[in-house]
């Protein structure tokens, strides 16, 4: 017998997790945000070509159906919002295939919440408030920084993320010891931004600060709305602490037609690049068609939050049974 049956996270770590969950529930109870549960196993899933999902089979002869483990509870939660739930939150597992590393476990815990009638600024404020509440005990020096994507990018690299110049991007990457970036990213502006942001911006972010990065470029809008006064930007922000990505917030896209078009584009991209086929979630589109109230929403990875709170350098140390011995 080996010792593999033993948990990786120690008892103190498990207690810290339990306390974190209790504090989150109290935080939202005080604000009248309703806790909900939605299915992890669904008929459809997200089409994002950068997210790889797990497929499972439902068997009940003669019935047979492919079901997907959710990469996030977003679509189901938006169906609740369209049905008039008001502001809601959920703490659940999310599953992402082929993601494993120091900051990734294929099965992880998400806190996702939606605030009806909140704009992005109000949501950013609430995110900072929640993180302060959760982390002030372990990180007394913690502060809040709010900066636009463009400003932060220019500060860290001297390059303008909204104005694509392959030559300038390449020269900078080369000077930072990444000559391979040019062949990797070629003429793909969005890919260049992913590369430069993860290699040269995240590690240069202020330490000991909840860093709220807003106004992401429109080419990285995902499920966010575009800015009404500057269509180069999207109503999306991300939150980082010590360069670690914790969550993604949007002023949610509610235009069913635009959403349908983004699905179609992503499905076509998947087909063209030989990625796993996926159908768009028609029930979600129907809900949007009926009407999603104006709302802002965010998902935060709780395992990474625990890593930061306990100063761990690997996600394994905050999980009772990480992927390798699940």
């Amino acid at each position: 017998m080996t010792a593999d049956w033993r948990p990786v996270a120690d008892l103190q770590q498990l207690q810290q997790r339990a306390q974190l969950l209790a504090t989150i529930r109290r935080f939202f109870a005080e604000r009248n945000v309703l806790e909900v549960e939605t299915p992890l196993l669904c008929r459809a899933t997200g089409t994002d070509p950068n997210l790889d999902f797990f497929t499972s089979q439902f068997h009940n002869p003669p019935h047979k159906k492919d079901l997907f483990l959710q990469t996030s509870p977003e679509f189901a939660m938006k169906r609740l919002l369209a049905a008039g739930s008001g502001s809601i939150y959920q703490i659940c597992k999310a599953f992402r295939n082929s993601e494993v590393g120091r900051f990734h476990n294929p099965e992880f815990t998400l806190l996702e919440w939606y605030r009806v009638e909140f704009n992005l600024q109000q949501l950013m404020h609430e995110v900072a408030e929640l993180l302060m509440t959760l982390l002030s005990g372990s990180m007394p020096q913690l502060s809040v920084t709010q900066v636009s994507y463009q400003q932060l990018f220019i500060e860290c690299t001297g390059l303008d993320p909204l104005c694509f110049s392959r030559l300038a991007y390449h020269q900078f990457s080369k000077s930072q010891g990444h000559p391979e970036a040019d062949s990797l990213c070629a003429d793909n502006h969005a890919l260049w931004l992913d590369f430069l942001f993860s290699h040269c911006v995240q590690n240069a972010m202020p330490r000991n600060s909840i860093c709220l990065v807003h106004d992401y470029p429109a080419i990285q809008s995902s499920l966010a709305r575009l800015h009404t006064d500057d269509t180069r930007l999207s109503e999306r922000f991300e939150v980082f602490i010590n360069g670690v990505e914790l969550g993604n917030g949007f002023f949610e896209l509610s235009d069913a037609e635009e959403q349908n078009a983004r699905f179609e584009r992503e499905i076509a991209y998947r087909q063209k690049h030989g990625l796993a086929a996926v159908e768009k979630d028609q029930l979600f589109l129907d809900a949007l068609q009926t009407g999603l109230p104006d709302c802002s929403g965010i998902a935060i990875g709780l395992d990474r939050l625990l890593m930061i709170a306990s100063d761990c350098d690997s996600i394994e140390h905050v999980l009772a049974f990480p992927f390798a011995n699940a």
Binding site: D48, N50, S98, E99, V100, G101, R102, F103, H104, G177, H178, E180, A181, L184, A190, L191, D194, F195, F197, S198, H199, Q220, S222, E238, E245, G247, N248
Partner: protein
């Protein structure tokens, strides 16, 4: 040679990069929540010994390098090449100056070394962690000094120069740690 996906990258894996054989030191998976996944990899070039960082798109494949380590006995040098032999099979290999590199100063005939071969050609030679060599030259020590504090340089039969305690004399055999180049002890014959 096989190809390896970034998902198979782990410390010690040998791959080809820019036409040179390399060894992976560290592999980190980097992925923004919404965006492309990368692998940031620390790699040692086995020809130059230099360590570089290189990023790959996750899932990308690279060619493996036919690099193996074999235990061999050092036989002799003819001035241009250093000759080694695999004891079990009597296969002989000759390594040039580049492959032997700094290891030359620790080589003593009949000692066992680790030879790294790339496509069956010597790429580098690693000496044993500890070698025993006799002193060919050093200043006479002071009588009564047994602590060794301070020390003095001594030239060894293989050509290496190490700091030894003052009491150690010419002709004596000493044990040296080749990883640090430090004197360990005298060896009683």
């Amino acid at each position: 040679m096989a190809t390896y996906s970034t998902n198979e990258f782990k410390g010690g894996l040998k791959i080809m990069l820019d036409n040179d054989p390399c060894s992976i030191i560290e592999n980190e998976f980097v992925k923004p929540g919404k965006g492309q996944a990368f692998n940031r990899v620390k790699i040692r070039n086995l020809k130059s010994g230099r360590v570089i960082e290189r990023t790959f798109k996750s899932g990308e494949s690279v060619e493996g390098a036919d690099v193996v380590d074999r235990e061999m006995q050092y036989l002799y040098s003819d001035g241009e090449f250093w000759h080694f032999m695999v004891p079990d099979t009597f296969e002989q290999y000759q390594a040039d100056k580049n492959a032997v590199g700094d290891t030359v100063k620790w080589l003593k005939e009949q000692d066992m070394c680790t030879m790294t071969l790339w496509n069956d050609v010597p790429l580098s030679v690693t000496p044993p962690n500890f070698v025993e060599l006799s002193i060919t030259e050093t200043d006479p020590g002071l009588k009564g000094d047994t602590s060794g504090g301070g020390g003095k340089p001594a030239t060894l039969e293989s050509g290496a120069v190490v700091r030894v305690p003052l009491f150690v004399q010419i002709g004596e055999m000493i044990r040296v740690d080749t990883r640090t180049g430090e004197y360990v002890s005298r060896v009683k014959e």
